[in-house]
Structures are given as structure tokens and as C-alpha cells.
């Protein structure tokens, strides 16, 4: 629960610090869950309530090209050691860019209606076309 401050307590300039304390280490090398984010960092916030369609990730087709990670405008593609792990549904707005840039013959990311479960989406995933025998 955020603490509501009085007008005399807020930091002038509508400024917020990303971290609770001065950063001395290389944050990029620090695992996400170990970073000392400040309380008002949006890392803790759920900012995806208005999403209508969501990207579902299918690891079977993924070649770890990292396109989705590069293009995601909200840093909602969780990738570790250059391997795609999952989608961060607390921050993903459902823009669909990740699925659009995904280069695999059968997409590894597909946009589906928000209410559809991951299981049923994966079960209905399109088949890879088998190469026709010559």
C-alpha cells in the first residue's frame, strides 16, 4: 500500500527515484528480484489492467533470437542469459509488437483474448508444417 504524502513532503519536480538507495553495483548484472527497487518504482505496480489481448509464449518454437525482448516497449519480456523465459503480465499492455516481430515459421508468441487460458492456447497452437517428401 503506497503511503500518501502531504504537499510539503513530496519531492519537487514530480520526481521519483527508481531505487531506494544509491546504486554502486551494475544493476543489469543483478537478478531482477534482488534489485533494491524503491517502493514507488513501477516494478511493484500492476499497470496492465486495460489489456484486451495478451501474448502467450510457446517455448517449443522459440529460437531465442531476442527480437521480442529488444522490441518490447514496456520491458515485459523476461529474458535471462539470452534465453526467453516468460511474459511479465503485470506490465505488458498487450500491444502485440512481440508477436509481430517474432520470426519463427510458426510464431512463438501469439496474441489471444485476455480471458483464454495459457493451457488451451498452447493446446490449440498451429502445427509446424512438415516438409513435403520429394
Amino acid at each position: 500500500m503506497e503511503k500518501l504524502l502531504g504537499w510539503d513532503e513530496i519531492l519537487p519536480g514530480a520526481c521519483l527515484f527508481a531505487f531506494g538507495e544509491e546504486i554502486k553495483e551494475n544493476v543489469a548484472q543483478t537478478p531482477r528480484d534482488s534489485r533494491k527497487y524503491s517502493d514507488n518504482n513501477s516494478h511493484q505496480a500492476h499497470v496492465s489492467d486495460w489489456r484486451v489481448t495478451k501474448p502467450v509464449f510457446n517455448v517449443d518454437h522459440c529460437i531465442n533470437c531476442q527480437f521480442c525482448w529488444v522490441y518490447c516497449p514496456d520491458m515485459s519480456i523476461i529474458s535471462k542469459d539470452k534465453k526467453m523465459i516468460e511474459v511479465d503480465y503485470d506490465h505488458c499492455k498487450g500491444c502485440g509488437i512481440c508477436a509481430e516481430v517474432c520470426p519463427t515459421p510458426v510464431k512463438s508468441l501469439m496474441m489471444v483474448e485476455e480471458f483464454k487460458s495459457e493451457e488451451e492456447t498452447l493446446a490449440a497452437w498451429p502445427e509446424k508444417k512438415k516438409k513435403e517428401a520429394k
Binding site: I10, G13, C15
Partner: protein, 409 residues
């Protein structure tokens, strides 16, 4: 290291050139600008100073005034000393970003050579752009002549950049009348001027990797009000700091500036309130009337925002008749000065008879005769003990008499 510019003790400069010397002496780090009449010379000369090695900072050519102020915001948040110059349509185009700059509490200095707003297109001086910016949360200083343009531009950095203030500052000067009229300007030698302005104290730099920060976050109904109240409070409180800077400037360089400037107001029955170079013209008219034994005076805000309500209430507490002269089309209301001055005086024990004149639009000449006619009106009001005309009149307008608000006589 920037080269020293050899200056005479007194130079013959117009307001634009005088202001640019102030920007050079303040050693502005970044000046993004899109030149526009009548402030063009500031941009042109600053880029010349950069090219000739008199400034170590950067001049950035941008694609519009909106971009100019946006670049100011970015550079200032990064921790640079930042200034720009504009006028009229340019100011209108950067207005969105003016609110961003003040909301993010970035001490940018904007040199504004005041000019009319189109349509009809007009390049000459009036206060339409000054009035347009007045609610944008900036400190606004007003120059009456080239000397003030220079001094106020220097002081603007000291005022805006103070850690307790951290607000952007507009330095207004009348387009063409002040911006382009060459006058004697007493200059401060480079080393003294630069020392007076001092080093910028960087606060929450965007480039500080050890403390990553977001500027201008989104705040909805549970936060926005507190941020705006804080900004309003700090803008009002900046007045005491402005006074301190004015005092220090006077001690060091012997030129006195006050929150409101007055000429023979103390014992005056009738007073004109105006802004900018009209103060100087009115002072001549006041002297003429004084020679005839008529007790008149003129008063003008040196600081338009934060508005000096207390100073006006005190200065005009015994005045019997006041005329507020607005050099901007009020478009469906009384002029801004009439509103502010009425507000400042309404809680005094005695309130004077207050009238409003709209004058000098689009650079229409403001003559001694016109200003004398105002004092003649005020004399009639004084004799009658009430307004002898409607509240608002147009001064120096062709066609049938144009007057509004309130009953005649």
C-alpha cells in the same frame, strides 16, 4: 575555457544584445533556440559567441519552439545551465512545454521579447505573450529598458537556480521598444558577473547513474493536487529569495531593483499601474503633472509572478484613484492588471476608484498625450468621487468610443 569579452564600462546596446551578454557571462551550458522576431538577435548573437569561443556551452539548432523548450527541459534535468529566447507565436508554440518545465522544477531562463499574437499577424510589441505565459508556473521578471534586461537576465539564473526555488524564469522586455532601442547600458566585467551568477548547483541529475530518476511522473487524483500545491507554494515563497538577490545585486553593483517599482506614488492621489517601458514614459508624464501641482504617480510590477499583492496593497493604501493599463487584448474580460490590482486592494481599509485601459496593442505608440489623457480622466474621477466613465476603455483607438463594464457616471 571561454575567452574574456572586453567591455567598456558603458556600452551602447539594445535590450537583445544586453541580454545576450548576460547569457554569455552566466556561461550558459545549453541554449536550444528557434529564432523569432523580435528576439532573433539574442539567438544569433549567442551562436556567434559560441562560434567565437566566448562561451563554452552549446547552441542547439532545433526544428521548432516546442522542440527548443523540450531540449531545454532535457538539458536542465540532466544538470546543465539552460536558457533560450523567443516571442509571440514562438512562445505560444512552446506553451505546453512551459508547464512541463515548471512542473518538473527546472530552472530554465527564457528571454522573452514581448510581441503581439496573431491573427492579425503583427511583429511589434505588446504584452500578449507575457499574459499567455502568466499561469504557466514560471517566475516572471519585467524589464523597462535595456539596462534592466541585462541586469534581470543575470539575476534570473541566481533566482531560478537556488535550491529552495528551482523554478524557471521568464525575463520580459518590450519588443522593439526595449529589444531594439540602443541605450547606454552599464556593464559588469566578465569575471564579476560570472562570479555573481556562480556555479549551478545540480539537483537530481538525470545523468547520475547511481541514483536513476524519473522526471514528471504521472500523478492522478491521489497525487496531482499535492504536487501542484507544492509548486504554487514554492513559487510564492520565491519572492523572499528574489528580494535577497535584488539586494545583493544592489550591494555589489549599485543598481536597485524592487518587487514593485514606483515613481512618486507615496503622496499621490492618482496612480497609473502598468508594465514594461510604459513605466518610463508614464514617469515623464507624472513629472509634467507634478509641475502643475497635481499629485500623480506610477507603479509597475518588476515581478509579475509571483504577483506582489502585499506590496501593491501597501503602496496604494492611500491612493484615491487608480488606472490599470493592460497592453494585451483581454478578449471578453477586464485586463489582467485590473483583476490583480483590484484583488490586491479589495481587503484594504479604503479602496480607490479603479479603472482599466487597454492600450498599445500590436506596437501602437504610447505617447505622452495618451497617458496625459488617462490622468485627465482620473482627475475627473477624483473630483466626482466616482467613475465618470465605464470601467474599461481603449486608449488611442480609432472609431467610436469603445468602453465596457459598469454604468456611466
Amino acid at each position: 575555457m571561454a575567452k574574456k569579452y572586453d567591455l567598456q564600462e558603458v556600452e551602447v546596446l539594445d535590450g537583445n544584445v544586453a541580454m545576450t551578454h548576460a547569457l554569455r557571462q552566466a556561461q550558459v551550458d545549453v541554449l536550444p533556440a528557434y529564432p523569432i522576431t523580435p528576439s532573433t538577435k539574442i539567438v544569433e548573437l549567442f551562436s556567434q559567441f559560441c562560434a567565437d569561443g566566448y562561451v563554452d556551452g552549446e547552441f542547439i539548432r532545433v526544428e521548432s519552439e516546442h522542440a527548443a523548450m523540450s531540449a531545454c527541459v532535457g538539458a536542465s534535468a540532466a544538470g546543465a545551465r539552460v536558457a533560450t529566447a523567443t516571442a509571440s507565436q514562438g512562445l505560444a508554440f512552446m506553451i505546453e512545454v512551459l508547464y512541463q518545465a515548471s512542473g518538473m522544477r527546472l530552472p530554465i531562463v527564457l528571454c522573452l521579447s514581448n510581441r503581439a499574437l496573431a491573427a492579425p499577424l503583427n511583429v511589434n510589441g505588446d504584452h500578449s505573450d507575457m499574459y499567455l505565459a502568466r499561469d504557466a508556473g514560471w517566475i516572471q521578471l519585467c524589464s523597462f529598458e535595456a539596462q534592466h534586461s541585462y541586469d534581470l537576465a543575470l539575476m534570473a539564473f541566481r533566482i531560478g537556480e537556488h535550491v529552495d526555488v528551482r523554478l524557471p524564469v521568464v525575463v520580459n522586455q518590450d519588443g522593439f521598444i526595449t529589444s531594439h532601442t540602443a541605450e547606454n547600458v552599464h556593464m559588469i566585467p566578465d569575471e564579476k558577473a560570472t562570479a555573481f551568477v556562480g556555479e549551478l548547483e545540480v539537483v537530481n541529475s538525470l545523468l547520475d547513474n547511481t541514483k536513476p530518476i524519473t522526471y514528471g511522473v504521472q500523478t492522478e487524483e491521489n497525487w496531482h493536487f499535492e504536487h501542484k500545491a507544492r509548486q504554487h507554494n514554492d513559487l510564492l515563497e520565491s519572492k523572499s529569495h528574489i528580494k535577497k538577490v535584488f539586494e545583493e545585486f544592489n550591494e555589489k553593483f549599485g543598481r536597485e531593483y524592487k518587487i514593485v517599482e514606483q515613481h512618486k506614488v507615496d503622496d499621490a492621489d492618482m496612480v497609473i499601474v502598468c508594465i514594461g517601458s510604459t513605466f518610463n514614459t508614464s514617469s515623464l508624464v507624472v513629472d509634467n503633472f507634478r509641475e502643475k501641482g497635481i499629485k500623480v504617480g506610477v507603479i509597475a510590477p518588476r515581478v509579475l509572478r509571483p504577483f506582489p499583492y502585499e506590496e501593491f496593497a501597501e503602496a496604494l493604501k492611500d491612493t484615491k484613484v487608480v488606472a490599470c493599463l493592460d497592453r494585451s487584448s483581454p478578449n471578453g474580460a477586464v485586463g489582467m492588471l485590473y483583476n490583480e490590482i483590484s484583488g490586491a486592494l479589495i481587503n484594504n481599509e479604503k479602496t480607490p476608484i479603479i479603472s482599466n485601459y487597454i492600450y498599445g496593442l500590436g506596437g501602437r505608440d504610447v505617447t505622452i498625450e495618451l497617458l496625459s489623457s488617462v490622468f485627465n480622466d482620473l482627475t475627473e474621477n477624483l473630483k466626482a468621487g466616482k467613475l465618470t466613465h465605464k470601467v474599461q476603455q481603449m486608449l488611442g483607438l480609432r472609431g467610436p468610443k469603445c468602453e465596457y463594464f459598469g454604468e456611466k457616471g
